[in-house]
């Protein structure tokens, strides 16, 4: 197990560099947008990866509530944190692309708005984790994880209807995706998923160690007060 981590890290590094090469050199340049379109290979995979991680968070939350297994809770916190980072990458790369192409940084288009809505939900999940007493955190956070996940379809559906009713000035990227572009996109997604898994893995180990240290410290404090008496 100890050797698996560096090996997987090496594979991920190789994959990420290959994906970078593919995205910047091999993929054809987009006709109207030019090179700025290449951010697409980072923008889209980071969103997909984030949603896989949020789904993992939901599953881990349910598993925790059913089994009361602290490992599931550690998976839940790790997946929410890393997922939020990837969704932030998505939300930051979006405006960088939008500025030269649409001429504006941000618009309240349904996709942007609903992604922001989901981002806000998971920020509040992490806020709850931070502000609750450590013994109750796993239960309260799992409940919040389930509520957040239940809310995601409502966010997408309501905002989609809201924005189709009031048409936005922005026209989505229509038409077919070039098969070579799709190929590069999938390679990037694979690389991003491996990278996310790698980060989650190391964050999970950190979380386990952190909890062990906390437990030991609590135990030591308990023993000390007894010896004083």
């Amino acid at each position: 197990m100890k050797r698996a981590f560096p090996i997987f890290a090496l594979i991920t590094a190789g994959l990420l560099s290959f994906a970078l090469y593919q995205a910047l050199v091999v993929a054809p340049t987009e006709q109207t947008m030019g090179d700025v379109q290449r951010i697409f290979y980072y923008h889209v995979p980071s969103a997909w990866t984030a949603f896989i991680l949020f789904f993992t968070n939901l599953v881990a939350s349910i598993v925790y509530l059913v089994r009361r297994n602290l490992k599931a809770d550690a998976v839940a916190v790790v997946s929410a944190e890393v997922g939020l980072v990837f969704l932030t990458v998505n939300l930051v790369t979006g405006p960088i692309w939008a500025r030269p192409v649409w001429g504006i940084w941000w618009t309240w288009d349904w996709r942007l708005t609903s992604t922001l809505g989901v981002w806000v939900i998971y920020v509040s999940y992490l806020m709850l984790r931070r502000f609750s007493a450590s013994t109750q955190t796993p239960v309260l956070a799992s409940v919040m994880g389930i509520f957040g996940a239940a809310c995601v379809p409502f966010v997408y559906f309501s905002i989609w209807y809201f924005r189709t009713q009031h048409p936005s000035p922005v026209i989505g990227r229509g038409g077919e995706l070039d098969p070579r572009m799709a190929h590069v996109l999938l390679i990037n997604w694979l690389a991003f998923s491996c990278f996310a898994f790698l980060v989650c893995w190391s964050r999970y180990r950190l979380e386990r160690v952190r909890r062990e240290v906390e437990e030991t410290q609590a135990l030591e404090a308990l023993l000390e007060t007894r010896s004083v008496r």
């Binding site: 502000f131 239960v139 239940a150």
Partner: protein, 225 residues
Amino acid sequence: MSALSSVTAATLAKDLRLEWRSKDAINSMLFFSLLVVVIFSFSFNPTAEESRQIAGGLVWVAFLFAAVVALNQTWARELRNQVLDAYRVSPAPAVALFLAKAIGNFIFVSVLEALMMPLFVVFYSLRALGPAWQLIPAAALGTWALVVNGTFFAAISIRTRSREIMLPLLLFPISVPALLGMVEATSSILTGEYSAKFWIVLLAVYDVVFTTACLILFETVLNAE
């Protein structure tokens, strides 16, 4: 089932009596939403046509903020003298306690809306151009959506540090679809430009999903140690 309804009725009656005697929640909510109305009109200074466009959003934002005031007090009262711990060890179904609190809050917020609506109509010279009766199902479903999640998250937030500020931080993100539904339904009825049906159905589905989730998970939250 009889235990459920009798415990619900008893807890609800107790809360209503407490509120009737103290009038804490309703007074603070009323004054708070009045302040929001006044501050909004200072900061936007709208004409009659503009206010018809923005009134839906304004009314519901005012009610949402005011509801948080009442929701925060829901469980705080039970913390004194360890009442909540007594509930926990008693054989009364936890769901009954939750239902009583949610229905109580629903009554408080509905009373607030009934009292504040005439004021909004006068201050912003509102007149519905669409079918006005649809405001009643939209308001009822919207209020339930706020209150059911609010009561639930209030039970979570009293277990955190800085509990008063935690409730809106948890409640508002989850309420975004419901708030959008309420605002759009109200705006569509006031302007009469499009149908409110979709938004009322959306609110109904939202209510069913989240009421179910609250009822299933409340016992877990109550017993969280």
